[in-house]
């Protein structure tokens, strides 16, 4: 039998390794996003690219590659993230602060979707599964259960929001639309965790959306809800309204002597 020298063995091993690498690399280039990026853009995505190149490029860079120290790469964030960020006015960002806040959006929803289409075709990523403005109706009671377990620790039982550490906060859900709620869960903007489809299935997300929207439309059966902040405002109310009113009543009664 032919015995090879250790040196020869090393050489064949290296050759085999090289072949494997070339093969893997070839498959990778075939299916990788950059291969798609060279594909022609759809009409909507082209509109989106035009918007992108005027409003976003300064921070997110050419072809959404990101700019060191100004904005992250948007490759792979998906249209859901873009639509959420643009529709809620967070993007284009204005200045650096502890948390980029919701504000009056610069673009309308159609433009937001065009921007989303552009980023989607550029790098892929999560998308909102329903096309219309409203999500398919879900089970409110189940949504309530899921909301209390998953969301209330930050957004509070009433969806009114709450403080997180170091000046960060979970905002109120008062203004959120169905699509924004879905996108927020799917993409986890900034300090919010991502609730991927393996954590909350799309159906469960619809349940949560139904619950949140119902919470907002629900009139408070007990009267004025005092902002639904809980015991803090109740305590203020008993002093500022209750005790003050009774102090005046006492002054009046004692004055009538």
């Amino acid at each position: 039998m032919l015995t090879r020298s250790p040196a020869a063995r090393k050489v064949t091993a290296a050759l085999r390794m090289l072949a494997a690498l070339v093969l893997a690399g070839g498959i990778y280039t075939l299916i990788s996003p950059s291969a798609q990026a060279t594909a022609p853009l759809s009409a909507a995505a082209q509109e989106g690219k035009a918007l992108y190149d005027t409003s976003c490029i300064s921070c997110h860079g050419n072809n959404a590659q990101g700019v060191e120290g100004r904005g992250p790469s948007l490759l792979g964030v998906g249209s859901a993230a873009v639509e959420f960020q643009v529709e809620t006015g967070r993007m284009p960002a204005a200045r650096q602060e502890a948390q980029i806040e919701r504000k009056q959006p610069l673009f309308d929803d159609a433009e937001a979707r065009q921007l989303g289409a552009y980023i989607q075709e550029l790098g892929g990523g999560p998308e909102i599964p329903f096309a219309g403005q409203t999500a398919p109706a879900g089970d409110i009671a189940n949504g309530g259960k899921l909301f209390r377990v998953n969301c209330s620790s930050c957004h509070a039982f009433s969806g009114g929001g709450g403080a997180l550490s170091s000046g960060k906060y979970a905002p109120t859900l008062e203004l959120s639309t169905d699509r924004q709620l879905y996108a927020a869960m799917l993409t986890g903007p900034q300090n919010m965790p991502v609730f991927g489809d393996n954590q909350l299935t799309p159906e469960e997300k619809y349940d949560i959306i139904s619950y949140v929207q119902n919470l907002k439309s629900d009139v408070d059966p007990g009267g004025w809800g005092l902002g639904r902040f809980g015991p803090v405002t109740e305590g203020l109310a008993i002093f500022l309204f209750g005790m003050v009113a009774l102090a005046f009543a006492a002054l009046w009664i004692a004055g009538k002597s």
């Binding site: 502890a98 620790s153 403080a163 109740e234 005790m243 009774l246 009543a249």
Partner: protein, 531 residues
Amino acid sequence: MRKRKFNVKEIPAKTAGEIDDRFQVATPLRGILNKVFPDHWTFLLGEIALFSFIILLLTGTFLALFFDPSMQEVNYQGSYLPLRDVHMSRAYETSLNLSFDVRGGLIMRQMHHWAALLFMAAIVIHMARIFFTGAFRKPRELNWIIGMLMFWLGFTEGFAGYSLPDDALSGTGLRIASAIMLSIPVIGSWVTASLFGGEFPGEIILSRLYILHVFLLPLILLTLITVHVGLVIVQKHTQWAGPGRTNHNVVGERWFPRYVIKQGGFFMVVFGLIALMGGLFQINPIWLFGPYEAAVVSAGSQPDWYVMFLDGSTRLMPAWEIRIWGYTIPPLFWPTVVLPGILSTVPMLYPFIEARLTKDKGHHNLLQRPRDMPERTGLGAAGIAFYLVLAFSGGNDIIADKFDISLNAMTWAGRIGLLIVPPIAYYLARRISLGLQQHDREVLAHGVETGIIKLLPNGQYVEVHQPLAPVDDHGHGELPYVGWTVPKKMNRLGALGPALRGFFKPIEEPVKPRSNGAKPAEISEKEKEKV
């Protein structure tokens, strides 16, 4: 047959006579009916607490008819749709039923809760009045102690009530309570296990809290209230110093009929206010919180306001863990066991401490104005400041969120504030007291400012003062300082109360100035010419 004379007018007197013949009540009753109560609005603060308590008894009895403190798991089928088919305890289910399916249940729940907040608020404000006016001094130390006890009983009663509906906030509160008990060294785990019947939450805690809440604590409170009010009657009410009022008399109104009528009216006002708040302002919307589950801790979970200062002290406490003799003392122990321990005992002893320090062993029936005891006033202000910093820290996440402040900044502001705000409050209150006292003394010595400015021949301007009493050669009066109201304006001279009685508008006619026979119109014409 002779017609029997039947005189309707005689019935009351005759009935009363017959009753007195049998029970001999006239003499003691006369004493009570003729009892005199002094009149000042701050004397009504305690009444607010008393009336709220009565309303708590009434509304609480209604709630108890429908509430079931059971932790047995049920499947909700009531009319609040967002909770349909959710598993929950029977206690939470019956609370939801009270809110949505029992007629008038929601307003009863809300009135009960508002009355609870008002009860505690009135106790605290009442306590502050007693403190700042020195009404706790001998012979009333016992009533001060009873008052303190009632505050802590009300605190416990409120906490127990808050825990009963078994919603997410109740459960979070109970969980914290169990953690607090566990933090006690040596006996902690034993105390917790015996109270909860094992591990938190167990099966039994609600039934135990229920007995406490609807039976034991109300009974003890009722007894204490009776003793408290009884002592006020026996020891007589304190009163403000003033003309004709001494340490040995009481100036005011007879208990019957005017005082009773006023009190009845005031009860209706308190009742009306609570009903108004119960009907208009939503409180403790348990259906939004959901049933208690160990995994759920919502943002903005707070206790009721009277417990909030302990939540605040917990939030401010740095995470220092101390190990002594093999026991670990968690940081929770200091702000939630040691602090309330101090707060519940030291203030009870305050009347004795103060008597010791001021060497004052006398009998006091006259109140002191806060300005006349600058040290005590300063101390009280410091105590209130301490309490407020803690209470606001208890809601610091809500404040941080709504006013866009960093939560960490709020925590540090609370920690630093707790150390420096009370001394500042002490200093300011003391200075203000001394300043007010000084001004009173000035008026006693120099008289009231008239607003008339005189130009002296040498060009100097001086204000003319109206002395309050005959003065010596230098224009100085000899009036002693006695701690009464001193008139500060010309039209208050000789009239210590307002010149015309009435609060919103005068309820009596002003006295017409006498015209000495001459026609008033002519006089004023002539006067005008003269000027």
